[in-house]
Symmetry: C2
Subunit: 314 residues, 2 copies
């Protein structure tokens, strides 16, 4: 299967570190040193996961090499839902006005991109779909407590859309060679590390250090597993797109994979942690820099815990 | 693929119609006449979708014809999440202590049971899993406004678990012969009929009549489509398990399918609308009454809108 188009949308409002300095007394330097984050985006009052997903889809549709009506599956992903009944996938179906196709949304927290793509892989294997749309959006600032000095400054908003087909349409299509996902709720503080109880307390990260340790453990491990089973060595990895949680995690993971730091693509510096949309936004931002034959691994780790790696070939 | 075991859990507290009489001035007779509902269950302060899912799984594990460690995929479903990061699927993985298997949760509102089973079907087709666990739980009363005279009296809490394998283990296994799901966000007031905005207003059903009309339209239609493509006539349908939203919808759907009313299985009278868990609970309650060769259709319709039908053979 192939990623034909990937697009993204970012809300206009930029929140810099000084904002948290005024609010919580955290200095901009302290935030940068600990997280790499200099600024993040914040959705407006009128925006939410559904509207942001539609904006990302709008941009993608412009580049689509087949009629939009051919889309026969929509899978959404978000852990910061505007509506758990009319999910972002349903909102996008309504926007595209395509009747009677399978539509659902998933959450495995920050890992959901790969769970969604793996669901698509299943529909393709069943011959129940040929042209899937994966939409990802996080409205972290809706559920975030900005006064939380532990994690209030980490989160940003954003959305992305991946149009995925069974067949190749154009030279620029990225081949999805392999996907592996896994739950790690049995590891460390898997069920407590990061939580989002929508009714009660929003996002909280009471065990940030445990999340850090496990992210640095699982992301290199699953990257190697996916490279191994495709007979690729670490030296054949052209680019890594890790979950955008913290620049220190990204550097740690790149280091464990013996990858030059500039080969681990990152947007956390200017977007913060945009949840399950982060890697997809990075893919959208960097797609044009890949050369023929490049091997790219998208690797994720999320609360819950859950993880996954997807091997792409340009 | 086969449903080896199906189990369910109901919270202890029973809320009868008199409660809403005192609260909202609705008479018990008026509620029964309009909805069929006489009582519903309410989770305790300590319970939530994650704990209820675990309780349902506990009961199922006792009947499992293979070692629980063989489970290699967990798919959760809920639109009333306790935690959107540590979802019910992740909580169940942690409870079962099975490492490194794919784990995710879906929402297509009240239709999610069939979306979850279709996701399992995909993993089986990919040979990425052989023994899946689908867990469904709704904590409607958490997000419900009991003072809402339109829909406050409709909702109940409950959970179910389906253990599904590629192969047959025992004579009582139900064969899943076919599944079809579809989004209908393009129909009627698909994106407004029923909503659950967790951050703002909880569950609301501002266009109940539109939901009613579309449920009565889509559930018979997709039932016929699935029977048709399996060369079965309406007269070969032994039992229908429709989404448990309203007894008038169930009767209307049975009537359109020329089915005797007692062949449309129902628990709404004593459980209310338990969301995506409703049909699975009914399947768990009635599994023992099916005879060899019975054709059973589970048919769902949910907010968003979305729908689906699953053909089972005993």
């Amino acid at each position: 299967m192939y990623i034909n188009v990937v697009s993204h949308y970012l809300p206009k409002t930029v929140v810099d570190n000084d904002y948290f300095g005024e609010l919580n007394g955290l200095t901009a330097d302290w935030i940068v040193e600990r997280t790499g984050i200099r600024e993040r985006r914040k959705a407006s009052q009128e925006e939410n996961t559904n509207t942001m997903a539609i904006k990302a889809v709008e941009k993608g549709v412009e580049q689509l090499p087949f009629p939009v009506e051919s889309i026969d599956l929509i899978v959404g992903a978000s852990y910061t839902p505007h509506d758990t009944i009319v999910t972002l996938a349903h909102a996008v179906q309504h926007y595209l006005q395509i009747d009677d196709i399978p539509v659902t949304s998933v959450s495995s927290a920050c890992s959901s991109l790969l769970n969604a793509v793996e669901v698509v892989e299943g529909y393709f294997a069943l011959n129940k779909a040929k042209h899937a749309l994966v939409v990802l959006a996080e409205h972290n600032t809706l559920y975030n407590n900005e006064r939380d000095t532990v994690s209030g400054h980490l989160w940003g908003d954003g959305a992305a859309a991946l149009f995925i087909s069974k067949e190749k349409f154009q030279e620029t299509d990225l081949k999805i060679k392999d996907i592996k996902t896994g739950g790690a709720a049995t590891a460390g503080r898997g069920t407590e590390g990061v939580v989002l109880k929508p009714f009660k307390e929003g996002i909280a990260m009471p065990y940030g250090r445990d999340v850090f340790i496990n992210a640095c453990e699982y992301m290199p491990k699953v990257t190697k597993q996916v490279l191994d089973r495709n007979n690729l060595g670490l030296d054949q990895l052209s680019y890594l797109i890790p979950h955008q949680a913290n620049l220190r995690i990204t550097k740690n993971v790149a280091n464990r994979l013996k990858l030059a730091p500039n080969k681990a693509l990152s947007n956390i510096e200017y977007l913060g942690n945009t949840g399950c949309a982060g890697c997809a936004i990075a893919l959208s931002e960097h797609k044009d820099r890949f050369k023929k034959g490049d091997n790219i691994v998208v690797v994720v780790f999320g609360g819950g815990y859950s993880y996954g790696a997807m091997l792409l070939e340009n």
